[in-house]
């Protein structure tokens, strides 16, 4: 179910507790999955079986594709891995700024 997403959209995994929010997305159709199953807007009534990568997601981490054309924030961690068009995306290294407030 590929579709065009906009920043701020939240997607939930259908196989684990993972929830992500789009921070930066290209304006083209994307197929976003977690643990091998398409992610959806809103939490599912019940979880399905994991069928893909299950390295897990960590709350608060940013995930990006290799070319850094998009960025997602994990707002709730879970057991599945997130993939775009079938390719698993990774944690983006944090840039440390001094505390300013």
């Amino acid at each position: 179910m590929a579709q065009i997403y906009k920043p701020g959209t939240k997607l939930s995994s259908t196989v684990c507790k993972t929830q992500i929010m789009a921070l930066r997305v290209p304006s083209e159709e994307l197929e976003i999955s977690c643990g091998g199953a398409p992610m959806q807007i809103g939490d599912p009534a019940e979880l399905g079986a994991m069928s893909g990568e299950n390295a897990g997601t960590l709350v608060g981490k940013r995930y990006t594709d290799e070319a850094e054309t998009m960025e997602f924030l994990c707002t709730r961690g879970g057991d599945g891995s997130i993939a775009i068009e079938g390719y698993v995306i990774d944690i983006k290294a944090a840039k440390k700024l001094p505390s300013s407030d």
Partner: protein
């Protein structure tokens, strides 16, 4: 987006951590999350939530609770006169007002700090409406009627995502919060501390004694101060300030005198200092001068490096910055002009006046300044404060810097005074350590700057007027000299 997500993530991922300390009250992030739900449960009719009190646990609960209910949070200045306050309240109706004061304005429903937290918790999700407004914040209005700045959820979230990593604070970290709720730095501190998982220690009434005592008692690691607060702490401490737990001091909200930051660095050599430059309209910090820059400048014999102690630093990665002349031409290094910024955290919008951004998204800060060859920003002051003498623009800052170098001068402000020949001329208000002749000060300026900078009036004062949040009140000085 919705700023409530910050608290939701904190209470889900680190709900057990201590979130807030105020007097004898101690709350975890989970408890703060429940308090915000209670606040949201009382906001059903789409009314705004205003806050007229010093910082206490109801402040963060109200900030996040209003967001959860999908309405705007409007913190108000409790130092305003009754008349000024009435005028602001009439501009935000209908609203619930958290206050202990008795206020009667049509469309304003008062509720105490205790009662706003006593309701049935909201079970709903925070709404995610495109372009929704999170906060309305009245600017200080030093030059006229206070403007109401609009900060959208997306602006504030962009600031947080651009500057803070989630749960990046160590479990022992504690931030001492002294800036009031109606100041952008007071709001930014709650959002960043919550996202980082750093416990917040509230100090509603700043005095140097109470700040030092609380920092010692709660093993405070981080603090934000406006320059006058840091100066008062330095003055009070003398040669010895015993704060072994303290690691980071950020400062901003006004011009930091070189002598103050140098004294503070000598007094607290183990502490990292960061200058944070930002405006209400930019959702807080847009430039930073970090700890390494401070140390390098402090130790350097090179005047160009050493003067960076007075710099606002470099733009943060998510912000672009330009200096433009009055005519809109981009300035080169060292060339003074107007500071323009661009980025997702920049709202640049006032209620009733609309967006102030140009067609390419640049916001005019109305601050004057320049960037050096290495990209460090130096702020010269507000464009409105420039003295125009016979068509020549004179920056108060250059005169103040020269006079501050004189041993007799404790504090100084240069302002415009009416002049029959030149339209405006330079007036100077000084606070002295000891007696000094006018002629001597005039000669000092003539020797360092052009003769047009020599003041036509010098007024001696016991102290200069500052707002509670450390802004020099130039209008009062101008009026005082005019009399």
């Amino acid at each position: 987006m919705n700023i409530h997500l910050i608290l939701q993530m904190a209470s889900e991922a680190m709900g057990y951590r201590e979130a807030l300390i105020c007097g004898d009250t101690r709350l975890t992030f989970e408890q703060l999350g429940e308090m915000a739900k209670s606040v949201a449960g009382q906001l059903s009719g789409g009314e705004k939530l205003a806050y007229l009190a010093e910082a206490d646990p109801a402040f963060p609960a109200a900030l996040f609770g209003a967001a959860l209910a999908g309405t705007q949070f409007v913190p108000l200045n409790y130092r305003l006169s009754e008349e000024q306050l009435d005028a602001q309240l009439k501009r935000i109706v209908p609203a619930k007002l958290i206050t202990e004061k008795s206020i009667s304005v049509e469309g304003i429903q008062c509720v105490s700090q205790g009662n706003i937290l006593a309701g049935e918790p909201s079970q709903g999700e925070a709404p995610d409406e495109d372009g929704a407004v999170a906060i309305e914040l009245f600017t200080s209005g030093t030059t006229g009627e206070p403007k109401s700045a609009i900060l959208r959820h997306a602006n504030l979230m962009a600031y947080i995502f651009g500057t803070v990593e989630f749960m990046s604070a160590e479990e022992d970290e504690a931030a001492l919060l002294t800036v009031p709720p109606y100041h952008i730095a007071g709001i930014a501190a709650v959002l960043s501390s919550t996202y980082a998982g750093r416990r917040m220690v509230q100090l509603p009434n700043f005095t140097p004694e109470s700040w030092i005592a609380l920092a010692q008692k709660e093993n405070v690691t981080n603090a934000f101060l406006v320059p006058t607060m840091l100066q008062r702490i330095v003055d009070h401490a003398g040669d010895n300030l015993d704060l072994p737990a303290l690691r980071n001091i950020a400062y901003g909200g006004g011009k930091m005198p070189r002598s103050t930051i140098e004294a503070a660095m000598r007094l607290l050599p183990h502490v990292n200092f960061t200058n944070a430059y930002g405006l209400t309209e930019t959702s807080a910090t847009i430039c930073m001068l970090g700890p390494e820059d401070h140390r390098e400048a402090f130790a350097s014999d090179d005047a160009a490096v050493r003067r960076r102690l007075g710099s606002a630093g470099k733009p943060i990665p998510s912000i672009e910055l330009l200096i433009r002349s009055e005519e809109g031409v981009t300035c080169g290094a060292e060339e003074v002009g107007l500071v323009w910024v661009r980025g997702d955290q920049v709202s640049g919008e006032y209620k009733g006046l609309g967006s102030q951004l140009d067609s390419e998204g640049w916001f005019p800060t109305k601050d004057r300044g320049f960037v050096d060859a290495q990209g460090y920003l130096f702020i010269d002051g507000r464009a409105d404060d420039v003295i125009v003498r016979g068509g020549e623009n004179i920056s108060p800052g250059e005169i103040e810097d020269v006079l501050r170098g004189h041993g007799a001068i404790k504090d100084v402000a240069a302002v415009a005074v009416a002049d029959t020949e030149w339209g405006e001329a330079v007036g100077v208000a000084i606070v002295c350590h000891h007696m000094v002749e006018d002629d001597e000060l005039c000669a000092l300026i003539r020797a360092n700057l052009r003769s047009s900078r020599v003041p036509s009036v010098i007024k001696r004062m016991d102290e200069l007027p500052y707002s509670e949040t450390g802004k020099l009140l130039r209008r009062i000085i101008r009026d005082g000299i005019a009399d």
